[in-house]
């Protein structure tokens, strides 16, 4: 399958995605620079992590108005699978492809640690290989990971099954189990059409044994799931 990875100035996680899809999963993957007008007719679009535009104004705010995002919106509008990771999640929220917003972490610290997330929905292109309740441990690295939406929006997300991942940290007490303070411990959501998914943790950083994939149900499943679809 063909995977396009969107790259903005300041994006720094595209190579891990390239490695995952290209080297490990042997797919046709390419990085698309944000100024390109063409996302390359992919089957899957990834908006990776990093610090696009230095997080100036707000994380993801300037990436949201880049012309390439019109292409991404159009692709998503036709049902194409889109995954936003960390800054990518922030960008997808800013551009309106996902509900809510990411605030500064409640602890006022940049969080750089492993966290465990529970898979709550398995009918998205990025979770279809999992079972409900699977726990995936992978790193988070963010300052603005505190997911927020108002009460009504959260009810709607819960009712519609749009909360895809929730933080679960068995190791530490409940307050520290959600150090960024995300409302309802939400780690990742999908849109109503269920083809766009965003999450703050980095599954692409634990896709091989050598970097610790063995500590939990494999994070590689996020990417393997996406290959089970027919062409978009």
């Amino acid at each position: 399958m063909k995977i396009s990875i969107i790259v903005f100035p300041g994006t720094n996680c595209e190579h891990d995605i390239e490695h995952t899809y290209g080297t490990l999963l042997k797919q046709d993957v390419k990085c698309v620079w944000h100024r390109d007008s063409d996302i390359g007719n992919p089957d899957i679009v990834i908006v990776p992590g990093g610090f696009s535009y230095g997080d100036y104004l707000r994380p993801g705010a300037l990436a949201r108005i880049s012309p390439i995002m019109d292409e991404v919106k159009s692709f998503a509008g036709k049902g194409g699978p889109v995954l936003g990771i960390c800054n990518g999640f922030q960008i997808l929220c800013e551009v309106g492809l996902l509900p809510g917003a990411l605030l500064q972490n409640r602890t006022r610290r940049f969080l750089s640690r492993f966290m465990t997330i529970e898979v709550e929905q398995t009918d998205t292109p990025f979770t279809s290989n999992y079972k409900k309740g699977d726990l995936i441990t992978c790193p988070v690295a963010h300052f603005d990971g505190n997911y927020f939406a108002d009460e009504d929006a959260i009810s709607r997300l819960d009712d519609a099954g749009q909360v895809v991942f929730r933080y679960r940290d068995a190791v530490l007490a409940s307050a520290e189990g959600n150090p960024n303070g995300s409302v309802s411990k939400i780690a990742g959501v999908c849109n109503q059409q269920r083809n766009v998914v965003g999450l703050m943790p980095h599954p692409e950083r634990v896709v091989q044994d050598i970097v610790g994939s063995g500590i939990s149900v494999s994070a590689l499943g996020v990417f393997q799931s996406s290959l089970q679809q027919g062409a978009a």
Binding site: L57, L62, R64, I65, A101, L103, Q104, R106, R108, F148
Partner: protein, 81 residues
């Protein structure tokens, strides 16, 4: 026309920066200061000379870029300097 846009987190949205600043304020001896919230101030010159047109244009800009209306509200202030 020159305008000043104040972008603030909506009431009820956790302001982590504001809390940090509030603690700092208490630390340096101004313990009675409370409810600190930190926002952004953006100044810009717009080509419209008519105030109503200018406000409309800036509001559009706020909706599209300067503010994330999920979590922020904005106020447009004319400043003729």
């Amino acid at each position: 026309m020159r305008v000043r846009v104040l972008v603030r987190l909506k009431p009820g949205v956790l302001d982590v920066q504001g809390k940090a600043v509030e603690h700092g304020i208490a630390h340096i001896g101004f313990g009675d200061v409370s409810d600190v919230r930190v926002g952004k101030m953006i100044e810009l010159t717009v080509p419209e000379e008519d105030e109503e047109k200018a406000r409309k244009s800036v509001a559009d800009l706020c909706e599209k870029l300067l503010a994330n209306t999920v979590i922020e509200e904005y106020e447009i202030i004319r400043c003729d300097t």
